[in-house]
C-alpha cells in the first residue's frame, strides 16, 4: 500500500459583484419612536451574515449601538430595490446604499437634536452608546431615544434616510474588448497538502492554508467563518460533491443526503488562514466581497496537489477515487510501454 503526499497551489482574483445592465441596490432607514433604527432592504440574508454586517455598517454610520439597528428584509415586493444576494456583492453594494441612507438619517437626527440642545448641527457628535453630545461640552447631551420620540411627538418630523448605490453598466469596447465589469477585486492564494492512497484512490486532504486579501473586514469572525467553511466546501467540490454522477447513467444522481456524497467531520483537514486588509476605494469603509471566493482556490490547489503526489492529472470534478485509480492504471501502462520500448 502506497500513500503518496503532494502539495499544490492556486490563486484567485475575485470580482465583487457583476456588471449586469447596471447593478443597483437601495436602502431606506427610519427611526422608531423608541430610538431604534429600521433598515428596510430587499437584499435577502441566505445565511451568509448579511444582516449582521449591514447592521454594523448602519450602526457605525449612524453612531449608535449595533443592537439598536433592526434589519428588515421582509419582502422583495414592497422593499427598496435590490438586484439580489449573489456574486459576493451584498456587503459592497448594499453596504454602500445603507451607508448613504444612514448618513442622511444621521443628519436628520442631528437636526432635531440641535433644536433640543440649542446648538449648531455641526457641533454635535454621537457617542455610539445612544447619546448625542455637544462637542467639547459633555454636560450638554440628549438620548437618541428622546430625540426620536420628540421628533415625532413634538416636532412632527421624520428621522429617516434614503440611500442608493449603482454600478453603472460598462459596455465592451468593440475595438479593444476592454470593459469595467466589477467594482473591486479580492484576492486569495491557497496551498493544499494531500495524501493519495494508490490502492483505493482515496484522497485525504491534510491541510488547506490560505492568504486572503478582502479589503476592510466589517466582521472578522464572519470573514474567518467564511474562509474556513469555504475551504471545506472547496474540498467537497474537489473530491466529493456532484449532482451529475460520474457514471454513464444519469439515473444514479443522488436524491438525498445518504447518496449525496460530501465529507463529514472526520475528513476535516487542518485549515489555516491569514487575512490582509487593503481597503477598496469603492466599498463602504473599504470593503470587498469574501463570500463565494472562499471555495475557489482550494479546488485547483487540491487537484494540483494530487498531481504532485501521484502524477495523475484529473480535469473534471469531482476527483473521485475511481478517476485516480483509472489515471494511475493508464500512467503505469504508459510507463511500462515506454520502458519496454526503451529496451
Amino acid at each position: 500500500m502506497a500513500k503518496l503526499r503532494g502539495t499544490g497551489i492556486a490563486a484567485v482574483n475575485y470580482p465583487t459583484g457583476m456588471n449586469l445592465g447596471g447593478d443597483p441596490s437601495q436602502a431606506l432607514i427610519h427611526a422608531t419612536t423608541s430610538g431604534s433604527f429600521v433598515v428596510a432592504l430587499s437584499s435577502t440574508d441566505l445565511g451568509q451574515g448579511l444582516r449582521t454586517v449591514i447592521g454594523q455598517i448602519a450602526a457605525e454610520t449612524l453612531g449608535v449601538a449595533a443592537d439598536e439597528v433592526v434589519i428588515d428584509t421582509a419582502d422583495t415586493d414592497t422593499g427598496p430595490h435590490c438586484m439580489g444576494t449573489f456574486a459576493s456583492r451584498a456587503t459592497h453594494r448594499v453596504g454602500n446604499a445603507v451607508k448613504a441612507a444612514a448618513e442622511e438619517a444621521r443628519t436628520a437626527l442631528l437636526e432635531v437634536a440641535a433644536l433640543e440642545l440649542n446648538a449648531p448641527v455641526g457641533g454635535l457628535v454621537l457617542d455610539g452608546f445612544g447619546n448625542v453630545l455637544v462637542a467639547g461640552d459633555p454636560g450638554r447631551c440628549v438620548r437618541v431615544a428622546e430625540v426620536a420620540s420628540k421628533a415625532q411627538f413634538e416636532y412632527g418630523r421624520t428621522i429617516s434616510g434614503r440611500g442608493a448605490y449603482m454600478k453603472p453598466k460598462s459596455p465592451v469596447d468593440p475595438e479593444t474588448g476592454a470593459m469595467d465589469p466589477d467594482s473591486t477585486e479580492a484576492h486569495a492564494c491557497t496551498i493544499a497538502e494531500v495524501e493519495v492512497d494508490t490502492e483505493t484512490g482515496q484522497v485525504a486532504v491534510l491541510g488547506i492554508r490560505s492568504a486572503y486579501e478582502v479589503g476592510r473586514q466589517v466582521n472578522p469572525a464572519l470573514v474567518r467563518g467564511q474562509i474556513v467553511g469555504g475551504a471545506w466546501m472547496g474540498m467537497s467540490h474537489a473530491l466529493y460533491e456532484t449532482t451529475e454522477p460520474y457514471y454513464p447513467n444519469p439515473d444514479h444522481k443522488p436524491k438525498d443526503f445518504s447518496e449525496y456524497v460530501m465529507p463529514g467531520p472526520a475528513e476535516l483537514p487542518e485549515i489555516d488562514c491569514v487575512v490582509l486588509e487593503v481597503p477598496s476605494s469603492t466599498g463602504p469603509y473599504g470593503v470587498k466581497g469574501v463570500g463565494e471566493m472562499t471555495a475557489n482556490s482550494p479546488i485547483p490547489a487540491i487537484v494540483n496537489a494530487i498531481y504532485h503526489a501521484c502524477g495523475v492529472r484529473v480535469d473534471d470534478l469531482p476527483v473521485t477515487p475511481e478517476k485516480i485509480l483509472r489515471g494511475l492504471e493508464a500512467k503505469w501502462a504508459t510507463e511500462s510501454a515506454a520502458a519496454a520500448g526503451g529496451r
Binding site: 484512490g201 457514471y247 444514479h252 445518504s258 447518496e259 472526520a266 477515487p321 475511481e322
Partner: protein, 283 residues
C-alpha cells in the same frame, strides 16, 4: 400521510394477531429508519401500519456461547454488547448515533445495499433468523433469508422476531469501506471468519456487502481459503475469487467497476489484518 391506523401492539402475540387479521397490506415497521423516509417522501403510501417498538423483542441474551438478539434490538444496544466484538464493530460503523438509537438489528436485514452492514457480519457468523406467524415458528439460515434485492423468505403472515448467533468459531475481521469515515454508505463491506487447526484453515466465511442484491457469501473465496495456511498466495487468490463472484452495481456512491476493485482490495486487507492479529495474539 395516508395512514389511517397505526397499531402499536404490546406483545408478540398481539402483533402476530394483527398481521393475520389485516394481511400483507399492513406495513410493519420497527425503528422506522427504512420505512419513514419512504413514507415522508410519499413513495410508500400505507393505510395501515404496525410499529414493533413496544412488543418486547429488544433484548440481547447470551445463548450457548453465542447470542440471541431480539429483532427490535437497537443498533446502539448491539454496539454496547461485549460478547461478539465483530457485531459491536459492525454496529459502530453503521449510520449515525441518532439513527443507531432508532434502527434495529432486524431492520438491518431488510436494508437494501449499500446499507445493511450488520447483516454482512451476521452472515459471516452463520446467523439464523427466527420467523413467527399465525402458523407457528421456524428458523432459517440468514443466507437463505435474504433472497434478492429487497426481498426475503418472509411469508405474508410472518414476522422476523429474532436472530441467533452461534458461538463464534475462529477469528473474525470486519472492514467497512465508504467514501468517508463516519456515517457513510458502503462502497464495500467485508466480514471474514476463519477457523484453523494449527496453521491450516478448516472453515472460512467471506461475507460481502454493497456488492450484490443483498449481503453475499463469497463461496469460491471461502473454498480457496479452506485447506490453506492463509499464505499470501492463498489470500490473493481468495481476493480475486471474491472480486469475480460478487455482483456489484452502479449508484451515486461508486461504480460497479470500482466496487469490484475494492472487493479485491478489501478482502485481501481483511485477511491480512486477520493474520496480523493472530500473529500478535500468538506471541
Amino acid at each position: 400521510m395516508t395512514v389511517v391506523e397505526y397499531f402499536l401492539p404490546r406483545s408478540l402475540a398481539q402483533a402476530v394477531d394483527l398481521l393475520s387479521r389485516h394481511g400483507p397490506d399492513l406495513l410493519v415497521i420497527a425503528g422506522g429508519t427504512v420505512a419513514m423516509p419512504l413514507i415522508n417522501d410519499g413513495i410508500s403510501l400505507p393505510r395501515q401500519v404496525m410499529g414493533l417498538r413496544f412488543v418486547g423483542l429488544d433484548e440481547i441474551e447470551p445463548s450457548d456461547g453465542g447470542l440471541r438478539i431480539g429483532a427490535t434490538t437497537t443498533l446502539t444496544s448491539l454496539l454496547r454488547q461485549r460478547h461478539v466484538p465483530m457485531l459491536a464493530e459492525a454496529a459502530r460503523r453503521t449510520a449515525s448515533w441518532s439513527i443507531r438509537n432508532m434502527g434495529t438489528v432486524g431492520g438491518n436485514l431488510f436494508t437494501p445495499p449499500p446499507g445493511g452492514d450488520v447483516a454482512v457480519a451476521l452472515l459471516a457468523l452463520d446467523a439464523e433468523v427466527t420467523l413467527e406467524g399465525s402458523r407457528g415458528r421456524r428458523t432459517l439460515a440468514l443466507s437463505e433469508f435474504q433472497t434478492g434485492f429487497m426481498t426475503t423468505a418472509l411469508e405474508p403472515q410472518e414476522l422476523l422476531t429474532g436472530i441467533g448467533v452461534p458461538a463464534v468459531a475462529g477469528e473474525t475481521t470486519y472492514v467497512k469501506f465508504g467514501r468517508k469515515e463516519a456515517n457513510t454508505p458502503s462502497v464495500v463491506t467485508v466480514a471474514v471468519r476463519v477457523a484453523r487447526d494449527g496453521e491450516v484453515v478448516t472453515d472460512a466465511r467471506v461475507a460481502l456487502g454493497a456488492v450484490g442484491p443483498h449481503a453475499l457469501r463469497a463461496r469460491k473465496a471461502e473454498a480457496v481459503l479452506v485447506g490453506s495456511s492463509l499464505e499470501p498466495g492463498a489470500i490473493d487468490e481468495a481476493a480475486e475469487a471474491a472480486a469475480e463472484e460478487c455482483e456489484p452495481f452502479d449508484d451515486g456512491i461508486a461504480s460497479a467497476w470500482y466496487r469490484r476493485a475494492m472487493v479485491r482490495l478489501f478482502v485481501r486487507r481483511a485477511l491480512e489484518e486477520l493474520v496480523q492479529h493472530v500473529a500478535l495474539e500468538g506471541r
